[in-house]
Symmetry: C2
Subunit: 641 residues, 2 copies
Amino acid sequence: MKATTERLDTVDVARLQSVLDGRWASIRNEVRGLVRSSPWLRSGSGLSTDAYRARVAEQARALSQTKGARLFFPKSSGGEGDIGGALTAFEMIALVDLSLLVKIGVQWGLFGGVIQNLGTPKHHERYLRHAMTMDLPGCFAMTETGHGSDVQSVRTTATYDPQRHQFVVHTPDDDARKDYIGNVAKDGRMAAVFAQLITMGKSRGVHVLLVPIRDEKGRPCPGVRIEDCGEKEGLNGVDNGRLWFDEVRVPRDALLDRYGTVAPDGTYSSPIENETKRFFTMLGTLIAGRISVSGAALSATKLAQTIAVRYGLGRRQFHAPGSDQEVILLDYLQHQRRLLPALATTYALHFAQESVVATLYELSSQTAGAERERRTLEALAAALKVATTWHATNTIQTCREACGGAGYLSVNQLPQLKADTDVFTTFEGDNTVLLQLVARGLLTNYREEFESLDTPSLVRFIADQAIGTVIERTAARPFADWIADTVPGSDKDTNLLDRKYHGRLFAWREKHAVETVARRLRKGMAQAGDAFAAFNAAQDHVLLAARAHIDRVVLERFVAAIDRCDDPDTKALLNKVCDLYVLSTLERDRAYFLEHGQLSAARAKAVILNVNRLCSELRPHARLLVDAFGIPEELITAPIA
Amino acid sequence: MKATTERLDTVDVARLQSVLDGRWASIRNEVRGLVRSSPWLRSGSGLSTDAYRARVAEQARALSQTKGARLFFPKSSGGEGDIGGALTAFEMIALVDLSLLVKIGVQWGLFGGVIQNLGTPKHHERYLRHAMTMDLPGCFAMTETGHGSDVQSVRTTATYDPQRHQFVVHTPDDDARKDYIGNVAKDGRMAAVFAQLITMGKSRGVHVLLVPIRDEKGRPCPGVRIEDCGEKEGLNGVDNGRLWFDEVRVPRDALLDRYGTVAPDGTYSSPIENETKRFFTMLGTLIAGRISVSGAALSATKLAQTIAVRYGLGRRQFHAPGSDQEVILLDYLQHQRRLLPALATTYALHFAQESVVATLYELSSQTAGAERERRTLEALAAALKVATTWHATNTIQTCREACGGAGYLSVNQLPQLKADTDVFTTFEGDNTVLLQLVARGLLTNYREEFESLDTPSLVRFIADQAIGTVIERTAARPFADWIADTVPGSDKDTNLLDRKYHGRLFAWREKHAVETVARRLRKGMAQAGDAFAAFNAAQDHVLLAARAHIDRVVLERFVAAIDRCDDPDTKALLNKVCDLYVLSTLERDRAYFLEHGQLSAARAKAVILNVNRLCSELRPHARLLVDAFGIPEELITAPIA
């Protein structure tokens, strides 16, 4: 380790930043340039809600004329069709203001995205360009008051009237009103409405229709009732609202009919027979939203960490014995422990996020096929959304506390970052529900390979809670081989910093947790005979398996990124950051490894001491590690930073 | 267990509430009555900062005419001198609005408290009545921008001028300005200023002086500069501000001189020789502030849990396989796991808090002596402040997430509770610094008994970071006996729900952690020869020892409260709540017990399964458990509750 430690002193911030900037570095730099040259591109934090909303709307309209908007949209609509670049630009815009990010995310990503993915050429031609330029401000009306996580059960109806060739969109009661919908309270003119499609007396499941909600003068359309959701904890620059439809009629071609269409006479047809599969296919195409939440969570975390690390390096408190100088906060072990493992985790998640963006970009260039890869990506995006958003919530809170009373002042940015990001663990899929989706993918694999999980209804229950998906396997090998191989080496022979050992340990835990879940489900079914009771009794283990999977995948992506790095000094530093990521994860979860004989007591204690050691070794590089995020100074407005 | 489980169904909410209401139940009921009959006693959340401040000031003035104010002040000043009742009333007022709680806490508790505790009869006669009635709005100017945790190093000076018999109060630079001071920005007229007292050319350490900051018309006094701290994350009903003094002159008797006085000629005298001891004695008398923060943290947590549990019982999501009804959120194991162990912890902390309040009340009736008991109480109050405020931060966050998007809307109260309580982990002593204080008490005991910790400078270093204190010992037995006794029984013979076993396990961990810290410090000194390096290398263990101590003490207080309960049904329910508190604590920290051979792997897994089982057994009583907090319905305004 000595050799690499010495090497770290020569790491250059620009080189490290270029590794972090990655494939879409040029986009990152364009947005940095735009931010620097655009004083209007600053947070509206502190404004009254009305003024904040107006400012964000104006910023969003201005951005709609820039490359950022064009990246997201296809060339056929005047865009540039670069989803990787678009998501990278979103990540950078998130540093400006998270309300702004959500506002454009709703407009381009959700409203534009649903038209792009679930519509057909007639919709694309009519609406995409206007969605891009924001001439048609749109909403994504999926969630209802009564159904958020369980979208398949929304109760808004769209009933086809073959006489007049129209759909009648209707809200049966308050529980079925659309709720928390961005862009509804003030700006939206058209909503993409998720509703149960009924034709010829038969329900065909959830479909999406474009429904005008305001006229050109901004007045609500007939039959449409709009309510403001009012003050929220954060994101008050976004005008969230509620929608009720009282038998609102829209023409037949308002239906986004890529995966299901209704003929003039009311006949329903779809390229996907199975209703649930159709539903999950439709939802699956909206993956970009979930990925951009991960990116935004990471951006907010990076900004908070930049502030907290700079403060921790400048602030002194308490004299050391026999010294006339007070101690720098970040020289305290505990302060290092609060900030540095989380910083290492941000690095790990950053590279995992980049790999997801890259994969989505690759797949978007293929017009068809690659179904398995798409399902795999959906699971990975869900897993990463869970990891990044809880990481953001925990880390920004810790950063606030690490800045003491100063961290509590709005001027120091942390309160806004906390408040804005808090809902990330809830929207675009509640994290607990997403964990179940990930676990379901793992179990499906397990069942496919072993045919031993004789509880299909259970797996279906878990599946029903989330979009269908398949979990990728390490190196695309059959699951059985992978399981056979992932036995960590003997405790004593292996260096605690051996990366292969790390990988085997993480993979072993994932495998063992999946096996245990399967066993517990089987046993539960045999005992209770009740699928829900069996599932519920094992739910803690279901979530554990999913979390173990996430940790393993994130580690793999981090290691792959380090392998790609060709500068030896930068590589040495990243390896140390990776060591801290792995060992702090092991430290947190060491009880599981101890309980299953994969860590001895002595080795578990060594893990703790190694975290301490790595913290002190990375302490001199803390400033470099946050500077390499490349956040424009214009956006680090906190006086304490 | 069967017998007690059946019994639980007959527990009555009123009986459980009366156990929780405890010794000052009548005060609790008086405040409940006041709240019900006073529509003006509602949260100002949602108002603009100016309007919010005005409303809180008005509420505080009105409360100053009620018994709540009188309880805190001595009979000699027209009060009722019941500190236990006063702190209980504070807890209840915290349910109304935390800004209001802080506003009256600053006025009565800190400003009134410092005059009461550090002043002499001349100050009491002149100011206490006006502090109580709020005719003299006061501030507590301790923290400076540069020194928050390390109050002993504040840099404001008060230099005695024997010619004019005055003190000259001065702020040498911006780092020494008073910062975050409540009541400064708008309402305060007099500040209790912490400053280095200098007389006859010699510094005598930190003392407190009463300095007028505004005249009767509200204009800043000459030489006093006032600045508004501006928007904060929460508590925006409190007007926090900054103060600079430019050679402001105050008369000699402005010095609160109970522990240090200056004769007209400038001669300094004090009943306490040692400057550090004097400083900590002065700070120690201000213990009520710290205890009231714990109470407020618990009140906010109870309100959040009431909202989340009610929502979890009303909300349904996802159909169970083969059922046409959707599942109630709180029927999911994971939802129980998120809410119920935290609820059990609130119960545990509630009883610990009550015991601290009762002890302070007992000690307050003694005019002198009981020094050891006072030091013990200080340590306990610090420990409990750490436990309650981090519990509040974590739990209110979880409650927000457990309420999904609805929890993000301001109307549902959780955002305000989150924002207001966030600073509790920082003010009245940063939690990390307080943990060190607790650990220092443990180490001092250890050294006193064993004379084996030959690193006095280290202990002093830890001591310097906080007020001096002594940790109580179990049943007042010598530490050595206690250590000898606390060896948990053999793993296999003992029932996992045996309360004596719980006590031994918690006590063993505390003892072992303290021993390890002592050993590490000794070893560190021997190796490094540098007290700071030795301390710093062991800091993680220092904090661990303190946390282990807190868990042990809280458990003891919970068990003592259950022992006092004479209704067998209520007692059975509380025992089950206590089981969940203990086992979820063991689950969280089971790695430590595994590493030290105090839990076998099989037993550690059994802990997890027992947490699941206890969650499902307490699930039917969730509503009862929150209803027994007795929060007035008028204050549960969240529509989702």
